[in-house]
């Protein structure tokens, strides 16, 4: 195949390139100059993010194991944006003394996981998918244990690596049966051979379980809270937005592409998972006091909503899911940004520490307020649109009861999102968090997030674009 067709994997190549550059830079910069790497990485990555918005021809590589189409490109852009924001938010944290030696590791690891995710998304066969998956998982374990002198961080790392290994084992076991029954690992070949015989169902369910682990759907979610709590905040943000998003996209694409023949099996399966995920996620989130853990469970609940879109199985479903993820990136990162800003400045991470935050840091708490409302799906912020369209997708399938359950869950979730609002605006505190100045990078990231939260909802053009490039089951 001619060389310029590598252009199809533009984003991946660019990312690899950045990783390399950083590696080299790491070697040739003096220890006291390391902070420069942060800027370098941020700038390079920003460029990459922008670059990926340029259109790409459709096509496949490596005999169909790598697929590129506008949708995958857009999904990658969504992830890029998320990662870029995360980078901006992690500047202060990286400048700390204890991380000084590990700056470039951080970037390289994150970028390599991102590469893995990109491959997952554009994968055309299960092998590519699996490699991407692992590439997207293993470095994260290292990242989770990044602050290796903190017990919690270490614990998070070990929990993540072991459980993910287990999950990938189970997933593989399922895939082995898919292969055995269909005789191929290529999506295009498998799709015709899929029927609802027990062995394939077995494979399907194990596959779903493995992906559910990544998206952290109940009951495969147990690692989530611990890892989120233990890992450094920015890693948590990365996990909860980017890695979850990538997994969701892949999951959706494969369900649509490969298992389109057996919707009558995986739709009820997802139905069950969705109900369980939303309910359990909410019930756990209600009780949390640690902000990170709280957001972990809230993100679990959100994952449950995503399933509503996936289940629809058509263009509408994909559109709503991608749209929701896009909004979710901005919203959730806004929340995490505030948390990390406060945590960097004061080391406080509990909801009760936020009491009367509005007095001292009105701007931060307003951003938090917006994020919370957007997560809860309150107009006029974008979250409302995202959620409502997901419900629409489910409604299109006639799952009205599911929609009812979902919306009631949304009401419950409103309860704990409002708890945060209450803490910041209503509750009085004896020693409130003092007024502090957030560094420029954090401001920039938060600004982007707020802009996103406000704009995406009203700008129907975005939605229209997504729906124009999205595809459903045949």
């Amino acid at each position: 195949m001619e060389s310029n067709s590598f252009f199809l994997m533009r984003n991946e190549l660019i990312l690899v390139g950045i990783a390399m550059i950083l590696l080299v830079a790491e070697i040739f910069t003096k220890p006291e100059k390391k902070n420069g790497i942060i800027t370098l990485a941020a700038v390079l990555f920003g460029l990459a993010t922008v670059a990926n918005f340029f259109p790409v021809p459709e096509g496949t590589l490596f005999g169909g194991s790598f697929i590129t189409n506008p949708m995958t490109v857009f999904m990658k852009s969504v992830l890029n944006i998320g990662v870029f924001i995360v980078f901006l938010q992690s500047v202060t944290w990286l400048r700390k003394e204890e991380n000084h030696g590990k700056i470039s590791e951080y970037f390289i690891l994150v970028i390599s996981t991102l590469i893995g995710m990109n491959f997952m998304i554009s994968s055309g066969d299960f092998l590519m998918m699996y490699i991407g998956l692992e590439l997207a998982t293993i470095p994260i374990a290292a990242l989770a244990a990044f602050e290796k002198f903190h017990e919690k961080s270490a614990e998070a790392g070990i929990k993540l690596i072991l459980t993910s290994a287990l999950s990938s084992g189970i997933l593989l076991y399922g895939l082995s049966f898919i292969y055995g029954t269909t005789g191929s690992i290529y999506f295009v070949d498998i799709v015709d051979k899929i029927s609802s015989n027990p062995l394939q169902t077995f494979g399907l369910v194990f596959f779903v379980a493995g992906m559910a682990f990544k998206i952290s759907l109940v009951p495969f979610h147990l690692w989530t809270a611990d890892v989120y709590e233990g890992a450094p905040i920015n890693i948590t943000a990365y996990l909860s937005v980017v890695s979850k998003g990538a997994a969701a996209f892949t999951f959706m694409i494969i369900l649509f592409r490969v298992f389109s023949a057996v919707t009558e099996i995986w739709q009820p399966l997802l139905y069950t998972l969705a109900v369980a995920t939303m309910t359990v996620g909410n019930l756990f989130a209600i009780r949390q006091n640690n902000m990170k853990r709280f957001l972990a469970f809230s993100s679990i609940a959100q994952a449950g909503f995503i399933l509503l879109g996936i289940m629809q199985g058509g263009e509408l479903g994909m559109t709503t899911v991608v749209y929701f993820m896009l909004i979710y990136v901005f919203t959730n990162l806004a929340a995490f940004g505030v948390v990390s800003a406060i945590s960097e400045a004061t080391g406080k991470e509990n909801i009760t520490d936020y009491n009367s935050l509005y007095k001292t840091n009105p701007k931060l708490s307003l951003i938090m307020l917006l994020a919370m409302f957007s997560l809860a799906g309150i107009p006029p912020v974008a979250g409302f649109f995202g959620k409502f369209f997901l419900f629409t997708a489910a409604g299109a399938k006639g799952y009205y009861i599911l929609v009812l359950i979902a919306v009631l869950n949304a009401t419950v979730s409103l309860y704990y999102y409002l708890r945060v609002v209450k803490a910041m605006l209503i509750d009085k505190s004896d020693e409130p968090i003092g007024t502090f100045k957030t560094p420029w990078a954090m401001r920039a990231s938060l600004l982007i997030c707020v802009a996103g939260i406000f704009v995406i909802g009203f700008a129907s053009a975005i939605y229209e674009y997504i729906s124009s490039i999205s595809f459903g089951i045949n």
Partner: protein
């Protein structure tokens, strides 16, 4: 440029304006100016509307504008008003205007206060003007959420609890609504693009099974906001904890969203199911009418008394709607407006009295009439309006409702109507009880003598509310005569299949 857009634009601009002022003086001034403009716009719009009607403008909704928003989902920004909406908008702008002045003294986080208040107003106005169910729902939720902050931050008593309860219950209501709306949306056309547009939906005859399934969702969903028994309990706590202006707005306007929605969406779009299930909800509303009134008798807290009487009066609104004839629905609309005005007046007065006595517990007060005659007299007027004294709006509304409700020939409707009429006596009981204990009788405390009577802004907000009450009461024709163009199509659709 469609005048209706003003009702969204003005509040938004006001909010932006408030963001850039320094102190509470600037904030309240900005808010006052904005809402005065709003009031003017509302009156102008009303005049224009009836001018066009007189000029022979046909079509259910005037000032109709339709802008495509989400093309693939066929979601539009569609606005238009009929006479009900027009009057509702007038009501809303009057109450908001009065509310701003009633909360003139708010200084703690005043900018935030006015911003959330006006956001709430935005939601209300948007709800009344929009004809696309999606935007309608958007504005509906927009109206509900600021309540949490307003009650939670500036409220009194167990404010966090009440605010949370109110928000969650109303959101639970909107949960039902989502299901109902989606049901309408996806059943709106077997082939071709589905739609949220009220007008197009109102042309469709939905299959009976679908109606049976979705009508309860829609009716109860809106009914919660209309304080439908037994889902009314957010109302007493919410109102009693809310700051003055918020109780005014909420009882005066927001609760009307419920009735309006029930009429405009639930009943209008799903007529057969409405006819079929009316009896269930009629029983419920009858209960809330009498039950609310009895509940009010026992209360000691002024706001609780009023909250329960609101339950009773709003129950009457739904009750009248479900009677499904021209007169009754006419009465329902009148009742919405009249109750909106007088309950706002009540809450304004309660706030002002509370500001002086620092208690809302009736037995702890007495003889206030002697020291604050203006407030006292206004309170008596409000009370008389609410017990249906001729010459004030309440009488007009209630009589229309009863006459309309009585036009049903079967015993069931007769009996519940008579039960409902009982409420006017019970109302008299608790109103006079309060007036007697609170205002009349010997002066209870010495320090009452220092109380100042109503200040100018207080007088303004009271007069703004009293005037329409009196005008409607003295010359009702100008209001009740103009609703036909909105009600006739609804009634025709409701009675088409009978």
């Amino acid at each position: 440029m469609n005048i209706l857009n003003l009702f969204v634009i003005i509040p938004v601009l006001t909010v932006l304006g408030i963001m850039f002022v320094k102190d509470y003086k600037g904030a309240r001034m900005t808010a006052a100016i904005g809402m005065s403009l709003q009031l003017v716009a509302a009156l102008v719009m009303t005049l224009m509307y009836f001018a066009e009607r007189k000029a022979g403008a046909s079509g259910e909704f005037l000032f109709y504008t339709d802008i495509t928003w989400f093309k693939t989902l066929n979601i539009h920004y569609t606005v238009g008003v009929d006479s009900i909406a027009v009057w509702m908008i007038c009501l809303a702008s009057i109450v908001v205007f009065a509310g701003i002045f009633a909360s003139w003294e708010v200084q703690y986080l005043s900018r935030e206060f006015y911003i959330s208040l006006i956001l709430l107003a935005t939601g209300v106005f948007g709800f009344f003007i929009s004809l696309d169910l999606f935007t309608m729902f958007l504005f509906y939720e927009l109206a509900v959420i600021p309540m949490y902050l307003l009650i939670g931050i500036w409220g009194s008593g167990p404010k966090e609890y009440s605010a949370m309860k109110l928000t969650l219950m109303l959101m639970g209501g909107s949960a039902l609504l989502v299901v109902g709306l989606l049901g309408l949306y996806f059943n709106s056309s077997a082939a071709g693009p589905v739609t949220f547009n009220l007008l197009e939906l109102s042309k469709i005859n939905f299959p009976m099974a679908m109606q049976r399934f979705f009508f309860p969702f829609l009716f109860v969903g809106f009914g919660i906001l209309g304080a439908l028994f037994p889902l009314h309990t957010w109302s007493p706590d919410g109102h009693s904890s809310a700051p003055t202006a918020v109780s005014m707005l909420h009882a005066g306007v927001l609760m009307k969203l419920g009735g309006y929605g029930c009429l405009r969406v639930a009943m209008f779009l799903l007529p057969e199911a409405a006819n079929e299930m009316a009896w269930i909800f009629l029983i419920l509303t009858t209960i809330s009418i009498v039950y609310g009134a009895f509940g009010a008798i026992w209360q000691k807290d002024l706001k609780y008394i009023n909250a329960y009487s609101s339950v009773s009066h709003c129950g009457l609104v739904l009750f009248a709607l479900l009677m499904m004839n021209k007169t009754a629905i006419n009465g329902a609309v009148l009742q919405m407006i009249s109750h909106g005005l007088m309950t706002a007046l009540f809450f304004a007065l309660i706030g002002m009295i509370y500001g002086r006595t620092h208690t809302r517990n009736v037995p702890e007060m007495g003889g206030l009439m002697a020291v604050i005659p203006f407030l006292g007299v206004s309170y008596v007027i409000a009370g008389l309006a609410s017990l249906g004294l001729p010459g004030l709006s309440g009488f007009i509304a209630e009589m229309t409702v009863f006459v309309g409700a009585f036009a049903h020939t079967d015993t069931f409707h007769r009996v519940i109507t008579i039960i409902a009429t009982m409420s006017i006596v019970i109302t008299a009981v608790y109103i006079l009880r309060v007036v007697g204990q609170l205002l009349l009788g010997p002066l209870r405390e010495k320090e009452y003598l220092e109380f100042p009577d109503a200040r100018w802004y207080e007088r303004l907000s009271l007069v703004v509310l009293i005037l329409p009450i009196a005008i409607i009461g003295i010359y009702p024709a100008f209001l009740s005569g103009t609703l036909a163009d909105a009600i006739v199509p609804i009634v025709e659709r409701l009675t088409a299949m009978l």
